[in-house]
């Protein structure tokens, strides 16, 4: 990846790429089954990029842009990874815990974790796969208490069970709400407590 010549206007990109590389190296050295994913498009779009993208899509190549991330192969080790990040790599803050459902027919959800280091001023995102038929993952609240509400929210939106969560109540939806709204196969409700939804 070429070094940036100009400032991007949306934050120090290059530093984040390096953070992901460094974190990947340290984590794999510590024995975590991680792989590094880096974007294969340049940071700035070139002329006629749309055509290139379309051609790549036709060939089945995956060209993408954005943040580099570290993918954890074994979701059972997420708590250990978080503890390692906090204690060894000085990522003191959990910024976000969320999930992504790509398509209704997908078998897996992405579990996303975003970390921030106040001392090294770096960011890191970690991804792990959560299969939809066994939708559970360990809660990282013992390591990062700030993940508490994020996990509660993700749990009700995606139906993920965070095992070991200290307070697994509904967060934003009413207690008797049916369904997980952010799943792609979610059907909008017809009525709630006798009040029509349309």
């Amino acid at each position: 990846m070429p070094a940036l010549q100009r400032d991007t206007g949306w934050g120090p990109m290059q530093a984040y790429f390096e953070a992901a590389r460094a974190a990947h190296a340290a984590l794999s050295q510590a024995g975590f089954p991680v792989e590094l994913h880096q974007p294969n498009l340049p940071v700035f779009a070139a002329e006629g990029e749309a055509k290139e993208l379309a051609a790549a899509h036709k060939e089945g190549k995956h060209l993408w842009r954005g943040d580099a991330y570290v993918q954890l192969a074994d979701r059972g080790r997420i708590v250990g990874l978080c503890r390692f990040l906090r204690d060894q790599l000085a990522y003191q803050q959990i910024i976000d815990v969320t999930a992504v459902d790509h398509a209704a027919e997908d078998k897996e959800l992405w579990g996303m974790y975003a970390f921030l280091s106040l001392t090294t001023k770096l960011r890191l995102s970690v991804k792990t796969m959560i299969p939809k038929d066994d939708c559970r993952i360990d809660s990282i609240v013992p390591v990062y208490p700030g993940a508490n509400w994020h996990e509660r929210e993700t749990a009700e939106f995606y139906g993920i069970t965070y095992t070991g969560h200290p307070d697994p109540r509904h967060m934003l939806l009413p207690d008797d709400w049916v369904g997980n709204p952010l799943r792609k196969d979610y059907k909008f409700p017809e009525e709630y407590h006798g009040i029509s939804c349309v």
Binding site: T8, W10, M13, F44, L53, T98, V100, A114, K121, L173
Partner: protein
């Protein structure tokens, strides 16, 4: 209410009568969802032993508006008006956060004038937002007058926003690729006039509320958040800086043109109490207004000529596949947008990391042990916007 209240006059056999000055029992108090001093429809369930809060629990979702689901269903640009509506006090900042995330996937850079205009208007919006925080915080703890002062100046700011984008509250002004309109003629002069005016008014606020002895007594040494707790719970913005952590995304991970501006990062110093108390959080906001004003002036001085938007970004946006997270410094903390694109004109996922949401999660943990009246001061100092916590 596990503990049964002892009923006066009825003695069990073998029980000795004890005269108590004050007979207290646990009561559960529902603060909200309709409550004069919560900012919006937050419900805090408080268990109090007499005047002392023994436990608190926040209940959210009274303003859940499905913003993230909407993001997966409308076009990239069509989602922009919805970003206005989660933190309605700082809609420009929300527009900016979303736009930066989309621009990261688009791989484009906004022309310099666009960048400066964005910085300028975002800082003005920060002043407007902190003005509300200041006014309503006074209102929360019993000072009615600052509210009128804050709204008077805020109306001037809203006039400025109305001139450039035509709306008072939900601006939809900053868009992916730049801004919708260039500043109309005379607008920059208008901003400068405001700066001059605001500079005279700000010391009044300081004397009126911050230096007021009653205000100090209500806020100093109340709701102290130690440094480590603030970091561990993911607090950001004035909440984190109030605890004495020197962290500001504008300086530490600069976006827009913040690296070309000179400003100080305000941290809580325990001016009238302990570092990290409610007073400090308000203190940070008060002084940030001044810093924002400085930045506005610098932007006015450095404002270049030229285009305001990138020419390639039209009304239908098709970013490259991929995912991007951009966090910006909102008036309330780090507003993060995590967007996932599959290359089509509709997003796969728009995730909003709301600062109020994270800041509020700590509140129920610092409340036990404080007086009931302080609960209001603590929630007020957190400066939450419910539209944002619930999205």
């Amino acid at each position: 209410m596990e503990r049964a209240a002892p009923s006066p006059g009825l003695l069990q056999p073998g029980q000795r009568e004890i005269e108590l000055d004050v007979r207290t029992q646990d009561v559960e108090i529902n603060m909200g969802p309709q409550h004069p001093s919560t900012h919006g429809v937050l419900r805090v369930l408080i268990r109090a032993d007499g005047e002392i809060v023994t436990a608190a629990q926040s209940h959210l979702g009274y303003l859940h508006r499905c913003a993230e689901k909407i993001g997966e269903n409308v076009d990239w640009l069509q989602y922009l008006p919805y970003t206005d509506r989660y933190d309605y006090l700082a809609a420009m900042n929300n527009n900016l956060g979303y736009s930066l995330a989309v621009e990261k996937l688009l791989g484009i850079e906004v022309p310099p004038r666009g960048q400066y205009l964005r910085t300028l208007i975002v800082e003005l919006n920060r002043i407007a937002s902190h003005l509300i925080a200041f006014g309503t915080y006074g209102l929360d703890i019993g000072a009615f007058t600052p509210f009128f002062y804050a709204f008077r100046e805020r109306e001037l700011l809203l006039d400025i926003f109305e001139k450039i984008c035509g709306a008072r509250l939900t601006y939809s002004f900053i868009r992916p690729g730049g801004v919708f309109n260039d500043a109309p003629p005379g607008w920059l002069q208008h901003v400068e006039d405001f700066c001059r005016q605001f500079e005279k008014k700000w010391p009044e606020y300081w004397d009126l509320l911050v230096e007021n002895k009653i205000f100090i007594e209500r806020t100093a040494n109340v709701g102290i958040i130690p440094r480590d707790l603030a970091i561990a719970w993911g607090c950001t913005g004035p909440m984190l800086r109030g605890s004495g952590v020197d962290w500001d995304l504008r300086r530490d991970q600069p976006y827009l043109v913040y690296d070309r501006l000179e400003f100080k990062v305000i941290t809580g110093v325990g001016y009238r109490g302990t570092v990290g108390d409610c007073f400090d959080r308000n203190y940070v906001r008060m002084l940030e207004m001044v810093e924002s004003l400085k930045m506005v002036r610098q932007c006015l001085d450095q404002m270049p000529e030229g285009e305001v938007s990138h020419p390639d970004v039209g009304l239908i946006i098709r970013p490259a596949p991929g995912e991007a997270y951009v966090g910006i410094e909102n008036p309330r903390g780090e507003l993060g947008h995590y967007v996932v694109s599959d290359g089509s004109k509709i997003a796969r996922r728009v995730r909003v990391r709301a600062p109020s949401f994270c800041n509020l999660s700590l509140v129920e943990h610092i409340m036990p042990g404080t007086m009931l009246a302080d609960a209001v001061a603590i929630i007020g100092a957190t400066d939450i916007v419910i539209g944002e916590t619930d999205r």
